[in-house]
């Protein structure tokens, strides 16, 4: 048995047949070769799989592929435009907000969600917004600064997050 879904992923339309039990993260990774979304746990705790579905951050390890039929999905692969890093990606590089890089895609997508709703977050607000994402390398110190850097860049350039 399979389900037919039609999804926009990073601006491109995909029509696929998926198993009803197929999780979105495996659909992205296995069927579409979008391996930027990572699986770090099996309890929806680590956030390494975070993507945006219709603009909202969701954990793609606890979303069925069938659930995003008709939705607009953005993954970490969809942020950089024309070879230029997105300001959030730039912020992570400038402020050393990543080490091994495994949690980074999820962190960046969680940050995108935050900055859409709160363009000028305080440190406390940033730390609160990252509650659903584990990083074992950075101690979060520089992730906070990366997101602040991105917020400033977006403000200076008067750019929308997405």
């Amino acid at each position: 048995m399979s389900v037919k879904i039609s999804v926009s992923i990073n601006g491109k339309k995909y029509t696929s047949e998926v198993e009803p039990r197929q999780l979105l993260v495996y659909h992205l990774r296995e069927a579409l070769a979008l391996t930027g979304s990572h699986v770090g746990c099996d309890t929806s705790s680590c956030g390494a799989c975070t993507v945006l579905v219709d603009g909202q951050a969701v954990k793609s390890c606890t979303t069925l592929a069938a659930q995003v039929d008709g939705c607009n999905v953005i993954t970490v692969e969809g942020l950089a435009k024309n070879g230029n890093l997105h300001p959030i990606q730039e912020g992570f590089k400038e402020e050393h907000g990543l080490q091994c890089g495994f949690c980074t895609p999820g962190m960046i997508m969680a940050a995108a969600d935050l900055l859409q709703n709160n363009p000028d977050p305080s440190e406390t607000e940033i730390r609160h917004a990252l509650e659903g994402n584990f990083c074992r390398c950075t101690g979060y110190h520089n992730i906070v600064r990366s997101i602040q850097w991105a917020a400033n860049k977006l403000k200076e350039t008067n750019a929308a997050v997405l």
Binding site: A33, T35, H38, H96, G101, T104, G139, Y140, N142
Partner: protein, 789 residues
């Protein structure tokens, strides 16, 4: 342009921020199958029967192998890399660790069968169809309990579950006498709880056998692919090393847990030849909790004697170290050579004795976890110092100043010989504590604390001044200590004909930023642009050999190997340049990527020399073409970073909840190549050390069931559990390696844990001197400590 000392942005970050990193689980090979491992649900049980027939007939299942198949194939178990002898000189007990167990399982998570299927979901479905009949046996999980008479036995050949007993330091009788004669003795019974390393990338391994070349490829989440190849080929599977390529691509964090050679790596390699197709196995997080080697797990009694002035007179330590059910690769070294040897700390303690009993239990293996042994040593030393200060009514900072080893640079002054085998290379300990006190505003804090207490607020400050042994390790020293391997590093510097440079290092980056830091070193030494340098690591077919990355060794050992190869490149380059410039070699100087005849404007660039070396038409007689050098660097000593960590906490008087208000760290890791990266290493280490103090801890119940088997049960620090860190550094260069670097990977994790716990104790002084509060400092434990009679 000088790169060394600059916070150069990381070369790695473009691929990681755009989702283009290539981790093992991202790799998909043609015809690849997927493996699921059936694991024991019991801590100790006899496998009476296994029925795989129904599972094997399940559509999509390709093959199933059990412990019987492994035994029939004559495959050895996974070996330990270090040997420790009993006090009486006999060899440690080293029971076999089979890839899959055929007879008796010894911990929850022990592998019993591997199911290989067309896709992962099918493999997991089939697991439900395997029937295993167990006879459950009694088990033991606590090391101090395991050695008692009548305790359930993990292995037949390890009586009383003892793997070895071991001692180090001054003769026990001398230390006993010094303790007995002390003016004051502080005693602590401590549990350094078991930790789950939890790199966010779960372990993964892909085995691929290509029969056309009779060659295996293993992609694996490893901190040291060459060591994995050596252990797997020579000790486990008995296959020739030159027919096996091991690739550790991008690796999502390690923290020690990815050093070790695990059963799954050998399993997918062996099974891929049996089925003639590639096999991928990727751990779930639950499996990671069950099978990634854990860390710490010491039960310790520590006593420190003092004279009237507060000078330490002696230290006596007795530790039960839990090794789990099987010996992991480094396991015997951690509670001994990496723990006992660090008990001098920063102090002039004249008499030290440490006694370690290493114990098997029905739990997952325990091995090196960030810091490995050194955090355990630092924890007991620094807890003793702050507790002693409270007991003697002294200031904890003052007590440390009184006992610090005086400064020595290791060049004009000799290294410091400890009572526990090691000789410190260089140290200057007072400045890190002085700077820490200045940053924290110590005098003001004590006033604020007194004021807060009047208002019923519980503020506390905790100190930790630590030392560690890094740059692991001088082969001769560790060989004498029982390592079955040297711990040097290799590097090849290949100058391409156009003057671009490829560097092949045996170190492995899984977050440390080697592609940036190493390139900074090479660029400066050669006087060329960083963009012209590529750092290659993690592939046994590209890199000649390597011992990998752990023990804060990459730059101190791996970087030094690179420097050796660069020196060789420049030496040969000078010969070619002398020929081209028609000058004597000794009249040349090299700077900014050019050889110049001193005092003239005659010069030639690095690129021209490289091209000449590969197109040697006009060339010095007798010189080989090419510009490509390999080196092995074996350090002469460990390196000894040190520092001062200070925590300020507030304990909620009603609930016992601990809030970390500030954390100050002043570390001396020797010379620094990239300050941004070093700061990042410190931050990450701090978070892990603070995590142990406040949140984390692996728990087994009496039946040996893992109670903390997921991120829902095991509390790791999240962003809102931590403050921003206040860090600074001092620089005392390492005198014995060419870069003067000591290593920064573990410092944060080693120093921070006791600082936090000491701060909680300090906050709780209105309730007396509380000595029986164990980590992690959960509200419940703290509340109970506050309300105990």
């Amino acid at each position: 342009m000088t790169y060394i000392g600059q916070s150069v942005k990381r070369v790695e970050d473009k691929r990681f921020t755009t989702g283009k990193g290539k981790y093992t689980d991202d790799i998909k090979l043609v015809g690849m199958t997927h493996a699921h491992i059936v694991r024991s649900p019991y801590a100790h049980a006899i496998i009476k029967s296994i029925d795989i027939d129904t599972a094997l007939a399940h559509p999509g299942v390709v093959a199933i192998f059990t412990g019987k198949d492994i035994a029939a194939a004559g495959i050895n178990g996974v070996p330990a890399g270090w040997q420790v002898n009993f006090k009486d000189g006999t060899t440690m007990k080293e029971p076999p660790h089979p890839l899959l167990v055929a007879d008796r399982v010894k911990h929850v998570g022990d592998g019993i069968a591997v199911i290989i299927a067309e896709d992962l979901a099918t493999a997991r479905d089939a697991a439900d169809l395997i029937e295993i009949d167990y006879e459950v046996l009694p088990c033991v999980t606590n090391p101090a309990e395991a050695v008692k008479a009548g305790a359930p036995q993990v292995h037949d050949n390890a009586p009383n579950n003892i793997c070895f007993d071991w001692e180090l330091g001054n003769p026990k009788a001398e230390v006993d006498a010094a303790i007995a004669a002390s003016h004051h003795v502080t005693r602590l019974d401590l549990v350094n709880q078991r930790m789950a390393p939890n790199a966010i990338e779960p372990r993964s391994a892909i085995g691929h056998y290509d029969d056309s070349k009779d060659k295996f490829t293993l992609y694996t989440t490893s901190q040291n692919p060459h060591l994995t190849r050596l252990l797997m080929c020579a000790f486990v599977l008995g296959i020739p090393e030159h027919k096996v390529q091991v690739v550790a691509p991008d690796v999502g964090g390690g923290f020690g847990s990815k050093i070790f050679h695990y059963i799954e790596e050998a399993l997918v390699i062996w099974a891929s030849k049996q089925i003639g197709r590639p096999i991928k196995w990727t751990s779930t997080r639950s499996e990671a909790f069950l099978t990634d080697a854990h860390g710490r797990d010491h039960v310790t009694t520590a006593e420190m004697g003092f004279d009237k002035e507060g000078k330490v007179t002696a230290l006596r330590v007795s530790t039960f170290a839990n090794l789990g059910a099987y010996l992991s690769t480094f396991a015997p070294a951690v509670p001994t050579y990496l723990h006992g040897t660090l008990l001098q700390g920063l102090y002039t303690t004249p008499k030290i004795h440490v006694d370690v009993t290493a114990v098997f239990t029905h739990t997952n293996a325990v091995d090196a976890y960030r810091g490995a042994g050194r955090p355990e040593a630092t924890y007991l030393l620094e807890r003793l110092m702050d507790t002693a200060a409270l007991e003697m009514g002294m200031d904890p900072a003052e007590l440390r100043f009184k006992n610090f080893i005086p400064a020595f640079d290791g060049v004009t002054q000799p290294g410091y010989q400890t009572q526990v085998a090691l000789q410190y290379d260089s140290g200057n300990y007072e400045p890190v504590l002085e700077r820490g006190l200045e940053m924290v505003g110590y005098e003001n804090f004590r006033k604020e604390q007194a004021e807060a207490r009047k208002n019923g607020k519980l503020l506390g400050i905790g100190f930790s001044t630590y030392i560690e042994a890094c740059g692991i390790a001088p082969s001769a020293v560790v060989g004498a200590l029982g390592a079955r391997a040297g711990l040097y590093e290799s590097a090849q510097v290949r100058v391409q004909p156009t003057g671009k440079v490829s560097v092949f290092t045996g170190s492995h980056s899984h977050g440390q930023g080697h592609e940036t830091t190493f390139a900074q070193v090479v660029a400066d030494r050669l006087g060329i642009a960083m963009e012209d340098i590529d750092i290659v690591h993690g592939d046994s077919d590209s890199v000649a050999f390597g011992m990998g990355t752990y023990g804060s060794r990459s730059l101190a050992v791996g970087g030094s190997a690179i420097v050796k190869s660069i020196d060789k490149v420049l030496e040969k380059g000078a010969k070619i340049a002398a020929h081209k410039l028609e000058a004597a070699e000794e009249d040349l100087e090299y700077a900014g990527g050019r050889w110049t005849v001193k005092g003239t404007d005659k010069s030639i660039g690095f690129g021209d020399i490289a091209l000449t070396a590969y197109v040697p038409h006009d060339y010095p007689a007798g010189l080989e073409p090419g510009l490509d050098f390999s080196s092995f660097y074996d350090p002469t000593n460990f390196t000894y970073p040190f520092g001062c960590h200070i925590a300020i906490v507030e304990v909620d008087a009603e609930t016992g909840k601990v809030t970390l208000k500030r954390f100050i760290a002043v570390d001396d890791v020797g010379n620094v190549i990239n300050p941004m990266i070093v700061d990042g290493q410190i931050h990450g280490g701090l978070a892990q050390g603070i995590g142990q103090a406040m949140l984390e801890g692996v728990a087994y119940d009496a039946e040996g069931q893992l109670m903390t088997g997921s991120f829902m049960d095991y509390a790791m620090p999240r962003a809102d559990d931590l403050p921003s860190f206040e860090i600074d550094r001092k620089v005392t260069p390492c005198p014995h390696n060419p870069l003067g670097v000591k290593g920064a990977g573990e410092a944060g994790c080693i120093g921070s844990t006791p600082a936090v716990v000491n701060a909680v104790m300090d906050a709780l002084t209105p309730f007396g001197i509380i000595k029986n509060l164990e980590m992690p400092m959960t509200p419940q434990r703290v509340w109970r400590a506050m309300h105990q009679k």
